[in-house]
Symmetry: C2
Subunit: 381 residues, 2 copies
């Protein structure tokens, strides 16, 4: 689609465009029963933004979402967003860009105010997350009326997409907070090498695979029986900015690290096992190890689709690296999935010593968009 | 070198390693007359850190630099840094990792104190940068006794390298500040597509090419005649964190943007010209345009080797994206190169309306290391 971008650029400025990069166009389809960017094989880079809505009426909110949808259709296809596109992605292919939208609790009701006549449509599963032991949430890195997850294999493409939506929304939305994720940590493609998080361990070995439709239906996609009807085919997103205390982690032995995680560091095998993907009984792992406590067998079969990214945001005033995992998990019902699992992890997980949750958000991601439709049309249309 | 990493990993933990990524090993040689990471074709990603030294003696400083050099030799070859490597780059190839070190003014003398007996060796060219009009420097993002520039085509490899050096230096150095650069903006490979900065313009079209040895000798490498002798083959690095006011930039027309830069947006041609690389007379560009004012012809022939990266560090409290250009420029003498050029730009450049310099640093980067030698051995050996 670099050619399409070049064409649009030429249209924009009336001059010839030199040959663009030879990289093959990589386009993830925008339309479908589910939003792209959830089951889509995880792209390398992330730019995530939580927006607060400033408009006062439902009609204005719909108009915003229609504008955003049209821009997303263009950008995910590798075309410019409009005639006055900001330009930094002009020469780049689509790079598997996906844009995924979610609606936060405050869009339905904020401080008792039914801003857009949506209070009665708020899904019971979009219940505010409870406080968890040990977290230290920064309100400047949490919440937001609308979340947009931009994933792409090129960071400039993801950054351009979020910037473009912010620009289209100028005066109608404001960016509440945003996060760059430089590298994926949770693959959904088990045939490929499992990425490592900043603790040096493989992450996401037992993640739900992008093509495991039975597991996606069971754990990720909201069914029409779940209700409300407008969420059928959608999913709930929990985001947690998890700061890692890497200086402390780096001081302990590999043996202690492996006992904390429950897997070997180099190979990623469960402790006592041989291969990363060998079956194992989590009850054989240390009682307070992360893999044992987070395992479906320890949580009534509950699973999450994880799509986390590593972040590095400079250094704090003590010279410690401000880095960790920007955890993104999709699920059918956070009340049955993220909340009970995290409650257990927050109290029992040995890993809690080395991490702190510092940002948090929860959003209802509506189903996918049909051609001619727009984000949220099952709720607002 | 993924194989080498796997071997070292197996040595580390005594278990077999699964087949690593099939990506070809991409190793930039560490040793040579000049440090790698200056003329090296610009890699895609950056992690940069400025360290303050906490040790009290010259011997301890040398010991630190020896340890760092040995780790850098390993990591740039795609091997682990040590038996207790933190591990997050274990499966990754060298990814053209380079590590480049520079010594700041405070290493030679701090508040009148000759900490390491180096005051007499301070190069005259390492004169503190003067204040420039319009800058608003954050002391928390400036200075530092030692700078380390890590560049690689994989961000995890660059992040791992800086983290490893910080870890090796624990108790001997502290990170003063650090910066992630997600994408290069200044190519030194004119045969490739010129990257775009976050203003959407091609950046670095007329940069010094990596293989233009005459220009490198004239503008980048310190000669033995320049003095001091220990800097021969080295270079001076100026870093500037340049915040872009992208919301303002996005509000003005493409015509205004092009008049501000002096080149067309889509194609990158000088205004009035046809092709990006066509020769042009800068006097034909608008008098206050960036390209005219920064052009060698407007600066007595002065050139800089630029190696800048785009950054996005979330959003500020007003919801504006904290993004811009992390400018890195190598040169033979900042007093004749960066300082006069920036003095002119700070007062006359129309682009100044849309940017602000918020961080700054200056370092003397010693020449390259010979096998068995160490960073800074011409100064400290």
């Amino acid at each position: 689609m670099a050619g399409a971008a070049a064409t649009a650029g030429a249209f924009l400025l009336g001059e010839p465009e030199p040959p663009a990069s030879a990289a093959p166009a990589q386009v993830v389809g925008f339309h479908g029963p589910h939003q792209a960017g959830i089951a889509t094989p995880v792209q390398d880079r992330l730019h995530f933004a939580a927006f607060d809505v400033a408009v006062g009426t439902r009609e204005e909110l719909v108009a915003l979402l229609v504008s955003w949808t049209r821009a997303a259709e263009s950008m995910t296809a590798g075309r410019v967003s409009s005639a006055d596109d900001s330009g930094e992605a002009l020469d780049l292919p689509a790079s598997r860009l996906t844009l995924t939208v979610g609606f936060g609790p405050t869009l339905f009701e904020r401080a008792g105010e039914d801003r857009f006549g949506l209070a009665a449509s708020r899904p019971p599963a979009l219940a505010d997350l409870p406080p968890f032991p040990g977290e230290k949430l920064d309100p400047a890195r949490g919440g937001g009326d609308i979340a947009v997850q931009a994933c792409a294999d090129d960071p400039q493409v993801a950054v351009h997409a979020i910037r473009t939506l912010a620009r289209i929304g100028l005066g109608r939305v404001s960016v509440r907070w945003s996060q760059l994720g430089y590298g994926k940590t949770s693959s959904t493609t088990p045939a490929q090498l499992t990425p490592r998080n900043l603790m040096g361990f493989k992450d996401g070995t037992d993640n739900i695979a992008h093509d495991d439709h039975a597991a996606l239906d069971q754990h990720v996609w909201v069914s029409s029986a779940d209700g409300p009807a407008w969420m059928a085919g959608g999913s709930y997103l929990v985001a947690r900015r998890i700061r890692m205390h890497l200086e402390s982690w780096d001081q302990v032995s590999v043996q202690e690290q492996e006992a904390t995680i429950g897997r070997t560091k180099t190979g990623g095998a469960p402790l006592g096992g041989k291969g990363e993907r060998d079956g194992f009984d989590p009850a054989t792992l240390p009682a307070d190890s992360h893999v044992r406590l987070a395992h479906p067998a320890s949580n009534g079969g509950v699973r999450l689709l994880r799509r986390g990214y590593s972040f590095v945001d400079g250094s704090d005033t003590q010279g410690r690296i401000d880095a960790g995992l920007f955890f993104l998990a999709y699920q059918r019902d956070p009340r049955r999935q993220y909340v009970p699992v995290q409650r257990r992890l927050a109290t029992d997980d040995r890993l809690s010593t080395y991490i702190r949750h510092v940002g948090s958000g929860l959003w209802a991601c509506p189903p996918g968009v049909s051609p001619g439709g727009h984000w949220g049309d099952t709720l607002l249309g």
